[in-house]
């Protein structure tokens, strides 16, 4: 497999900016381990399980130093996607994260997510993409309703 196709394959499983940075760091560690006698088996263990699995499969093949360098270069270049910042009221895991990433890619094209957690928003999400601030939070919805219909709400309370 050539490095371009390999990097493309790996990138499909990278959803967040944090993962991308971590991956590049791990690959750098992997490259360094090629020059030492230390065991390199568990280098990707701290990554998301699906991603770690793919990387372990990829790097168990006997990649030469040159090929590894080329792969890192490819990934460095490709992982320079615009970052979409999303604030959620929970920390998405597994399929949830995958779905969010798929939706973001559908809306904004190739991108990386930067997900932050804030339980004060109650529900929904704040999305910051290309300097645009979109507030789809439940907190904001409630605030708008309270501002628009203060009397009705006062009666209900």
């Amino acid at each position: 497999m050539d490095s371009s196709a390999l990097s493309k394959h790996i990138i499909q499983y990278i959803y967040t900016k944090k993962e991308a940075d971590e991956l590049l760091e791990k690959l750098s560690d992997y490259l360094n381990s090629k020059f030492s006698f230390t065991e390199s088996a568990n280098i990707f263990a701290s990554l998301r399980p699906e991603l770690a699995q793919i990387l372990n499969n990829t790097f168990t093949k006997d990649l030469s130093i040159e090929q590894t360098k080329q792969l890192i270069e490819e990934l460095n270049h490709k992982l320079n996607y615009p970052v979409i910042r999303i604030t959620l009221s929970y920390i998405p895991q597994g399929k949830g994260l995958e779905r969010i990433a798929a939706k973001a890619r559908q809306m904004y094209g190739e991108c990386l997510l930067e997900i932050s957690y804030d339980n004060s928003i109650i529900g929904g999400a704040v999305i910051i993409a290309g300097g645009k601030y979109q507030d789809y939070t439940l907190k904001n919805k409630l605030k708008t309703i309270f501002e628009k219909h203060p009397e009705e709400i006062a009666k209900l309370l």
Binding site: I128, G130, G131, K132, Y133
Partner: protein
């Protein structure tokens, strides 16, 4: 100002600080931000967008608070504005219109004006025709200024520039002019001193100090003169004559250079950015004599100050400012060292439009004095060779010294222009022969004249009946005793000159006016 979240919800645009370099911040995001727009940081600090490219907006901050990478920033859709209103009279405020001494109960005016505006065009302007009294005899005589004129005040540090500005403000504020003193990057102590001077002199109700301290951010110092001019324009539109003092523009230029260099602008001469001339010209162009909204003439007289180094007035900023003003008053360090106060060198100073505002009488007097002082200086230089001076030369030097004594003023003294005219007439007549007597009598006359309506009336009559210097001298011979009587003082000078009932003095004095003791030799030399 609304909170950060309110602006964010309203504008729906956000940016993130990517790089922070002293007072210049580079932020990503903010896709539709415009140049000169105010942006708000997450910590409540504000900034002004200077420029932008596809990736970053370059922001000038107005705070010393730390701005960290990753901090959020949002648009406000507001341009840089300064609150304006009569509430500011008597206050010392920063360029954002907030009192510097955290005045309790101060309510910020509701009205505000943009700081950067295009100056009024020629159709709104009128020829400068009214004289502007500084109260400083030397300036009013030799370098007259008109209302709406832009006169540069230039000189080395510690040569009395600020004292002169205080005197001018004192004189003008007493006449009802709104005086705005912009202290640009000054020490807080100096700003306080100015404030106390205005309070002590009882003119603070007509003055506003807009100050920025030397420890303030460069952006705040850069804005100070523009804010002063904005406030000046407000008072102009309200129907006032305004005096704006910009102290000083060399400091302003230095801070602008700092901003430009941090902002990676290409440095030009002396490392100043290429638009330094424009920066000052667009500021000073806002001064002038205008036709107000009420159809009346109102003026913004502007006195920018620039510091020279070791008497060198050919510096970059200094010459720039000379070329965009209507003249300059030069404070000479050598004259200061010799004890002359104010240490103004009238031979290097220029007023390009002031003469057109003078009456014929004042004009003839200015001409006589200037030519006489030129002659005196020549003779003084000649006398340095140790040659034995002839009686005529000695006489010229003595009269010159008397005139210089007349021009000498304390930093807190101002003299009415009419009184200046009369006293000069008396000196020219030769009633004082030694300087000590002159000094004593001058003091007495100034004090007695202050609130003396009768004396003011006599002075007014004498001046009204004197179209030129020769006629003034004749009128004085007839009316000087009336004036002394009104002043109710004993003059130590030779009052007997006027005591002769039928003196030949009634014959017209040949033009040019003879010097004291009837010697005309020197006059002939002047003409030649």
């Amino acid at each position: 100002m609304n909170s950060f979240d309110n602006y964010l919800t309203e504008t729906k645009e956000i940016g993130f600080v990517e790089e922070s370099n002293h007072s210049i911040i580079y932020a990503s995001g903010l896709p539709n931000v415009t140049v000169n727009e105010i942006v708000l940081f997450e910590n409540g600090s504000t900034g002004l967008v200077l420029s932008m490219n596809n990736n970053f907006a370059e922001i000038l901050t107005f705070t010393n608070a730390p701005i960290k990478n990753g901090m959020r920033v949002t648009r406000t859709r507001n341009k840089q504005e300064m609150p304006v209103g009569h509430e500011y009279l008597g206050l010392t405020v920063d360029p954002f219109g907030l009192p510097m001494d955290k005045l309790q109960g101060f309510r910020k005016p509701n009205m505000s004006r943009p700081i950067h505006v295009t100056p009024s065009g020629i159709s709104n302007r009128k020829r400068i025709e009214k004289p502007f009294e500084t109260g400083v005899t030397l300036v009013d005589f030799l370098i007259p200024i008109g209302k709406g004129q832009r006169e540069l005040v230039i000189g080395d540090r510690k040569t009395g520039k600020t004292a002169f500005l205080h005197q001018t403000i004192l004189s003008q504020a007493k006449m009802g002019t709104v005086c705005i003193y912009a202290a640009i990057g000054k020490k807080k102590m100096d700003i306080k001193k100015s404030e106390e001077f205005f309070k002590k002199m009882g003119i603070s109700q007509n003055t506003v100090i807009i100050g920025s301290g030397s420890d303030d951010p460069a952006g705040v110092i850069y804005l100070t003169p523009y804010c002063a001019m904005t406030l000046g324009e407000y008072f102009l539109d309200e129907g006032h004559d305004v005096l704006v003092v910009l102290d000083d523009l060399l400091t302003h230029a230095k801070f602008y250079r700092e901003i430009a260099l941090i902002g990676k602008r290409f440095p030009g001469r002396n490392s100043y950015p290429a638009d330094i001339f424009y920066t000052h010209a667009r500021l000073l162009e806002r001064g002038g004599n205008f036709i107000g909204k009420d159809g009346q003439e109102h003026s913004i007289t502007c006195l920018p100050v620039v510091e020279s180094v070791q008497g060198d007035i050919a510096g970059f900023i200094q010459t720039n400012l000379m070329s965009m003003t209507d003249g300059h008053i030069f404070f000479d360090v050598d004259l200061f060292a010799r004890g002359q106060r104010p240490a103004i060198n009238p031979f290097i100073s220029v007023s390009r439009v002031g003469r057109q505002t003078q009456s014929h009488l004042r004009m003839t007097m200015t001409r006589e004095v200037l030519s006489f002082l030129t002659l005196r200086q020549r003779l003084e230089n000649f006398s340095h060779f140790g040659t034995e001076a002839s009686p005529q030369v000695k006489n010229t030097l003595e009269v010159g010294n008397r005139i210089l004594t007349f021009f000498t003023q304390n930093a807190t003294e101002v003299m009415d222009v009419d009184l200046q005219t009369i006293i000069f007439g008396l000196i020219w007549q030769g009633i004082w022969e030694d300087i000590n007597t002159l000094e004593k009598d001058l003091k007495k006359i100034r004090t007695a004249y202050k609130d003396n309506a009768g004396a003011k009336q006599v002075v007014k009559e004498i001046i009204d009946n004197s179209p030129d210097l020769n006629v003034l001298l004749i009128t004085l011979r007839n009316r000087a005793l009336d004036l002394f009587k009104e002043l109710n003082i004993v003059i130590e000078g030779k009052v007997a000159l006027f005591a002769r009932p039928t003196a030949p003095a009634l014959t017209p004095v040949p033009s040019p006016a003879p010097l004291p003791n009837g010697n005309t030799t020197i006059q002939t030399e002047v003409k030649n």
